[in-house]
Symmetry: C2
Amino acid sequence: MAAGVSRSTVSRVFSRPESISQDTIRRVKAIAEQIGYLPNHTARALSTGRHRNIAVIVPDVANPFFPPLIAATQDEADRHDYCVFLGNSGESAEREEKLVNRLGGQVEGLILVSSRMSDQQIAALAERRPLVLVNRDLANIPRVLIDSAKGTLESVEHLASLGHDSVVYVNGPGASWSNRQRRNAVRRAAAARKIKMKSVACQTPTFESGRQVVSQISASGARAVVAFDDLVAQGILAGLAENSIKVPRDISVVGCDDVLGAATYPALTTVSNCSEEAGRVACKLLMEMLETNAFADVRYVLDTHLVFRDTTGPAPSP
Amino acid sequence: MAAGVSRSTVSRVFSRPESISQDTIRRVKAIAEQIGYLPNHTARALSTGRHRNIAVIVPDVANPFFPPLIAATQDEADRHDYCVFLGNSGESAEREEKLVNRLGGQVEGLILVSSRMSDQQIAALAERRPLVLVNRDLANIPRVLIDSAKGTLESVEHLASLGHDSVVYVNGPGASWSNRQRRNAVRRAAAARKIKMKSVACQTPTFESGRQVVSQISASGARAVVAFDDLVAQGILAGLAENSIKVPRDISVVGCDDVLGAATYPALTTVSNCSEEAGRVACKLLMEMLETNAFADVRYVLDTHLVFRDTTGPAPSP
DNA sequence: CTGTTAGCGCATTCAC
DNA sequence: GTGAATGCGCTAACAG
């Protein structure tokens, strides 16, 4: 062409330079630079079937649990020269499926974080293309799990050792694996320590939901509450403050995910998170799958622990 | 083909159904469903040159200012059946440019949020493809600006009215338009109220940077500080607390962006933000550009105001 | 090492 | 309204 070479040579210069003489490479690259030639990504993808794109789908970008995870997958993908689509399902399985379909055609693999889709939907998806799950435990699909059970267990034991004889668990989304895991952990720990456990619902894991659930908590007469996550816990703290209920004097509160740092008042006792590491590991797994074409059944578990701060205290005398 | 029709007919059914008889449409769609046929996005993009993808590039996904903005652009893009790539530049102009290049080939437009690239780089980019800027004021390029100047002005006036006669501004990133805007606002307001103004540097807008800048603040003898953003302010609060300096008794602190709500202690006085609206507007502008092929020179300004909370108080007597 | 040929899956002329 | 032919820009298999 312009450089006195054929298309294929140009193509090879940009895709498999090792099979081309140094001299031609230089010549072609020089001309390319000069006329501003850039390989067309779309045409290449059509021809090879490889896009070097992945998609990360989360329930709510604005939930502080996810951004570090997203940033970590981004970094990791970048390192492998992959681009990443972001999908925000808004906690809806329906929107999540729509996103997966829309995105499916232009990605080589997907990372589903805290997916709200059904096991069947996910399994079907995994048949079609490389898939890594975060915080969703499905056999035969590579998954990264943040084991908040351990930290949650510790929090109940901590409360028990402070003299509490009952605890309320404030649920997160019903379809959430993390929520089931945490609720079960509370249940088990409560049973082991022979303390009572109640559980109240709370639609979406937000500050506002937490604030609104306070009336139910007060009504239950509970003196210790374990919240689905920090956002809910923060809302609960606010609601409690509005009702002049002092924490931890009148009631103890534990969150989960440690996304707020020590920024609440009182500083929230919570369960550590490792969303960043989860994102990195998930992306690494996916990259490996794409490079080796192997579909290993990995189940990668990340541990958590209780972070002591100032919202838990001795059970008030009755 | 399978439905007893040609490729072209199938193609038309999915792209320009108005030129096809109702009957064939039904037949083709039925068969398509049955054999799980889906138009290949890549081939279509190659043929038409349209991807229905956009890219949003931010300096730091994990900075709580951006997620609501990202979510809003997502929503808006979704509504128009566009997919969105997310780019995380890590506050680096170099990485940002790399992302733009990598992404450039598969998107129809870009949204650059708080871009760290030079005016020249951005202008060159805007020549090549539809581009919308957020928090960057470049003539002839559609842009959405959050006018934190107004709120920042109010915060200095608020401090002055509390009797403060000097203020320290803690800078954000040097390349940041928002930082220049805020610093200038502080300077102007300080001059107008005839109070002294100093300014200290702070590499990246993070909690840690804020904590570390406290020694400089103390050394300056200041009794009022306006921080680049809430994260920095939060770090400052932490650093102050470590040094047993009471807020607002000994020193007043104002943040910017209101990303922490009332979650700090004491609750942070700050400047309201509208990142969500900014994201939505930016995406709408971009969608309009893509649909009409017109490159209007819009300069959309969103206003801010001071949010009074508990970190500002009367100037201590000397 | 490099040129030639064919085809990725679709949209788009142009006929019918 | 519908079918046949051509090209989007690139990679892959096959020659030389």
